[in-house]
Amino acid sequence: MSEKILEVKNLKKYFKSGKGTLKAVDDVSFFINKGETLGVVGESGCGKTTTGRTCIGILDKTEGQVLYKGKDVHSLKGADKKAFTKEVQIIFQDPYSSLDPKMRVHDIIAEGLRAHKMCATKEQERAKVQELLTTVGLNAEHATRYVHEFSGGQRQRIGIARALAVEPEFIVCDEPISALDVSIQAQIVNLLIRLQKEKGLTYMFIAHDLSMVKHISDRVAVMYLGTVAEITDSNSLYRNPLHPYTQALLSAIPIPDPEVEEKKERIKLIGELPSPIDPPAGCRFKGRCKYATDICDKERPELREVETGHYVACHMVK
């Protein structure tokens, strides 16, 4: 399980805006092992979606490196690039805007198959699409319908079928359940877990719902304002959070149990999330952190391994 499928080294992604440079992702490093799920959590605007998109080459990088199986994602060309697009797929957040309303479900799913010439005949293509639809829990006859005929959960299943069509190894799931109702969320999460077991997939699971991320992930990366605050396996993140931001985030998650809720101490954050345009120097979190000292103003904390596999970016953690 130690083979790294994706390695991100000092990745930076800046956007130019009228007011200055928006540092969406600023010096982020992590890796994902083959067959595991890395959860990426953080509040809106922390750069989690930008990280996901830059990792698979949808967005260009500003600086740094993303290695997929040892090859730099952003300098792939020709056959390598084509092979990469077959191995890596993405499931988007909004199942309404990520599917073309003018295409039939069959064509949406078969588009990737055609691009990679995976089916020799129309018959094979039809059989493959029907197999995919059954895999994700839809009916084979749904292939001839249009997207507007489906509910949110069903659309997300179509999105998953489309990603699976080209038999990928690595899938970025960008908030795949945020737009869905509670009872449907569990359906989609169970489907993703089942597919991972059956096909040996690797996931990067981006979400803001920490309890769902903990449930699905082997390891979790917590992001704050374009940087990674903490990475560790999902159980120790809950039992032993080291970064003050992670502690505050965990204490804000509601637990559906009145007695636990009553006893729970909540760590309140001071102030508001600063703007990613010209973010504070030093530690990004210092303005809201009650442990902040002089060093937090001057130096930006490096992501250090404090226990085996437990990385944290904070000066105060010994």
Partner: protein, 332 residues
């Protein structure tokens, strides 16, 4: 506890080209003075329509409040009020906070003006006093530097602060009932926790009744002492928060609780998914609305609607499993 609001057999439909959408199909519940009640359910279950009906915000047509429905506010049936009485009631007796504060606030008016507007509408005060009241309300909801903030426009506030402004507007004129319709759905978790804490504080401090409408069972655990679970336009279960969280009776409530992962669970528990989708309310199923997705569905569930069964004081569940003939199948 003295009853502030009684909703009795409320039925609301909307007429569309496809047919009559029966959004709310016979909902009854009570809210006591100063009590916090949560209405929980998925999208399309009729929880927002119920809230809007209490506020008198249902447009007719296309909406239609069916004959026989009653909403008693301090004993008066508000559904029978005249437009003038409604204008008095709305805002002064009962206020609402919407989900999307950016859409609900007027972008062209300062925040102070939007609060003062309501104060001046319902009470005879000078403009200067109304603005003073606006400042006091901003302080009450935890917005720092209110003297400067009253002169600012909604776009100068962050999402969480905007929601606080909405709450400040709702609190003007000391309403006895505050309806919060998914007040935190668009917000991040840390801000969500702040807003929920604020609502809880205000409810206790001002002895104001609160109806919290949400799809997230987690956030109501701490706030609401009474919970109403809705499914496809009907109340399937209601009871105290301990009834619902520890002794839930309805298969839908039970499944809903098992469908969300718990942060404090040690081992990775299996999530229970509720297969299928909620029924279409243009042609709702005969019998129990949950029968199409229920794992314990019996023959009778598909043909006859279950009656109410009462367990402990006020804990009510609509499910055939608790009929005396079904007791053998499942422990009550």
């Amino acid at each position: 506890m003295e009853k502030l609001l009684q909703v009795k057999d409320l039925k609301v439909s909307f007429h569309s080209y496809a047919g009559e959408v029966q959004s709310v199909r016979g909902v009854s519940f009570d809210v006591g003075v100063g009590e916090a009640v949560a209405i929980v359910g998925e999208s399309g279950c009729g929880k927002s329509v119920t809230a809007k009906t209490i506020m008198g915000l249902i447009q007719t047509p296309p909406g239609e409040i069916k004959a026989g429905s009653e909403i008693l506010f301090e004993g008066t049936n508000i559904l029978a009020m005249t437009e003038k009485e409604w204008a008095q009631y709305r805002g002064a007796s009962c206020s609402i906070v919407f989900q999307d504060a950016l859409a609900a606030l007027n972008p062209t008016l300062t925040v102070g003006r939007q609060i003062a507007e309501k104060v001046m509408l319902h009470t005879k005060v000078s403009k200067a006093d109304a603005y003073k009241e606006a400042e006091r309300l901003l302080t009450l909801v935890g917005i720092p530097n209110p003297a400067k903030r009253v002169k600012q426009y909604p776009h100068e506030f962050s999402g969480g602060m905007r929601q606080r402004v909405m709450i400040a507007i709702a609190l003007a004129c000391q309403p006895k009932l505050l309806i919060a319709d998914e007040p935190t759905t668009a917000l991040d978790v840390t801000i969500q926790a702040d807003i929920i804490d604020l609502l809880k504080d205000l409810q206790q401090q001002l002895n104001m009744a609160v109806i919290l409408i949400t799809h997230d069972l987690g956030i109501v655990a701490d706030v609401a002492k009474k919970i109403v679970v809705m499914y496809s336009g009907k109340v399937v279960e209601k009871g105290s928060n301990t009834d619902i969280f520890y002794r839930s009776k309805h298969p839908y409530t039970q499944a809903l609780l098992r469908a969300v992962p718990r942060l404090d669970a040690d081992e990775n528990q299996e999530l229970e998914s509720i297969e299928g989708t909620p029924p279409n309310l243009i042609a709702p199923p005969v019998g129990c609305p949950f029968s199409t997705r229920c794992k314990e569905c019996m023959n009778i569930c598909q043909t006859q609607e279950p009656p109410e069964y009462e367990f402990e004081d006020g804990h009510i569940c609509r499910c055939w499993l608790y009929h005396e003939f079904a007791q053998g199948n499942k422990e009550a």
